[in-house]
């Protein structure tokens, strides 16, 4: 089984950039007005999940 990583629900993301500004790993980028997590860099610290104002991020096991 893989490790859990943050995953953005594209249907919910409103492109505020908050998650990007707090990610200690620089693992998130804005792509076509949606935040996208790079699985390689994410350490699943959960900071972005707590920060998202609309609850668009969860952690998923890949």
């Amino acid at each position: 089984m893989g490790k859990p990583k943050a995953l953005v629900d594209k249907g919910k993301c409103l492109a505020c950039g908050g998650c990007i500004s707090v990610c200690p790993q620089d693992a998130i980028t804005m792509c076509s007005s949606k935040a996208i997590v790079s699985k390689e860099n994410c350490i699943d610290c959960g900071i972005c999940i707590q920060t998202c104002p609309v609850g668009a991020i969860s952690n998923e096991v890949y």
């Binding site: 908050g18 500004s21 707590q50 920060t51 104002p53 969860s58």
Partner: protein, 396 residues
């Protein structure tokens, strides 16, 4: 592609920087990843009338509503009013932020800057450890833009600084996570911007109601990310609206999410590189307002860049006057207000109630966070001890 200056981001910070750099003779390109400047709006749209002093906006099309003052509501509902001396005098505006941003960008273009939309910076270019341009992407194609000076005006994400090796990552303790509705068909006093405080209302932040017109208002919430939970801002804002009948009957015309840095300003100058606006965390940590500081800093940044291009010197030393001038002006206020932010965060709701009650009938000489702090110290000399570091900063 080679320019004297490439500015990443066409928000207020980027456009004002570009304008003043271009006016002093630099060859400037702004790149913006959006397809329309200022759209979508991510803002409460409130600004002090002092913006008029900067002479960067023409006409009045960007103003939605004139404000007489602000009202702060404590957790138990006591109201503190900060208003203009005379009824009818205006102290601030509620904006059309999209038109506001477009007017600022127009000012830059008129001064000679070029603007490229749909163009996203994806990395910085480096040579011998110094940045010398950005890698950009437009309609799926990547290309290099070389420049002597790179300006990171890329807002809260502040990736340009990060890619250049600066520490721009925010602590959750230094970020307000926000949502906002623009509600139509609501009732309220059109002359006042209202702020609601309280741990149950908005932990580490506040709810705002900024009237854009007779029956339309921006109703939003900011919560300190370290005190938040996934989706909490949206849940608490819906709860607030539900408990206010005058707002509950409204229908949303717009919904947005936003993120506001409430940190101390960070390092903003390196060889060939400047950060301006939210990217440099130039936001008032008490109010979360960043428009005025972005314009103020943008003007200084643009002038500094103009001199650098004139002398064809782009090292950190040449660009440092930007930061030095800010230290003596904008940063004094921001640093003082960061101390106030920490004090207020440590207060219980009952302390806030007590303070608001004592200021109920106080006449404020000026509508500013400073006049609020002064009033608090007058009424509560015991607060002076906590505020001492802050008073020192503001006297300098």
């Amino acid at each position: 592609m080679k320019y004297d200056v490439v500015v990443v981001g066409s928000g207020p910070a980027g456009s004002v920087t570009a304008r003043f750099a271009a006016e002093s003779g630099a060859n400037v390109l702004i790149i913006e990843r959006r397809q329309e400047v200022g759209v979508p709006v991510l803002c409460g749209e409130g600004i002090s009338k002092k913006v008029d002093d900067f002479k960067v906006l023409e006409g009045r099309r960007w103003i939605a509503n004139n404000m007489e003052g602000a009202r702060i509501f404590s957790p138990d509902g006591a109201m503190v009013k900060l208003a203009a001396d005379m009824a009818g005098d205006e102290t601030g505006y509620v904006l059309y932020r999209d038109i506001f941003d477009q007017e600022l960008a127009r000012g830059a273009i008129r001064a000679g800057a070029e603007l490229m939309l749909n163009t996203c910076a994806v990395d910085v270019l480096k040579e011998n450890g110094k940045v010398n341009g950005v890698k950009a992407k437009q309609f799926g194609e990547e290309f290099d833009i070389e420049a002597d000076i790179i300006v990171g005006a890329d807002g809260v994400e502040s990736k340009i600084g990060r890619w250049a090796g600066m520490k721009t990552t925010l602590k959750p303790y230094d970020l307000e996570t926000c949502v906002q509705y623009t509600l139509s068909n609501v009732e309220f006093d059109k002359e006042y911007c209202d702020f609601y405080l309280g741990k149950k209302i908005a932990p580490g932040g506040y709810v705002w109601v900024f009237p854009k017109g007779k029956d339309i208002a921006n109703v939003g919430i900011g919560i300190l990310a370290s005190l938040s939970e996934p989706g909490m801002p949206l849940k608490l804002l819906d709860k607030f609206i539900d408990s206010h009948p005058e707002l509950k009957k409204g229908e949303p015309l717009r919904f947005l999410a936003g993120a506001v840095p409430v940190a101390e300003p960070i390092e903003s100058v390196r060889d060939n590189l400047l950060l301006v606006g939210d990217a440099a965390r130039q936001v008032d940590p008490i109010t979360g307002g960043g428009l005025m500081a972005s314009i103020e800093a943008g003007e200084i940044a643009g002038e500094t860049i103009g001199k650098a291009v004139g002398e064809q010197r782009f090292d950190k030393k040449m660009l440092s006057p930007y930061e030095e001038k800010l230290e003596n002006t904008v940063y004094k206020k921001l640093k003082r207000n960061y101390v106030v932010k920490e004090i207020v965060l440590g207060m219980e709701d009952k302390t806030l109630n007590m303070l608001a009650d004592s200021l109920k009938d106080y006449k404020f000489d000026e509508l500013s966070t400073l006049s609020l702090v002064k009033a608090l110290v007058l009424k509560h000399p015991s607060l002076l001890i906590k505020l001492k570091p802050l008073m020192k900063l503001s006297k300098m």
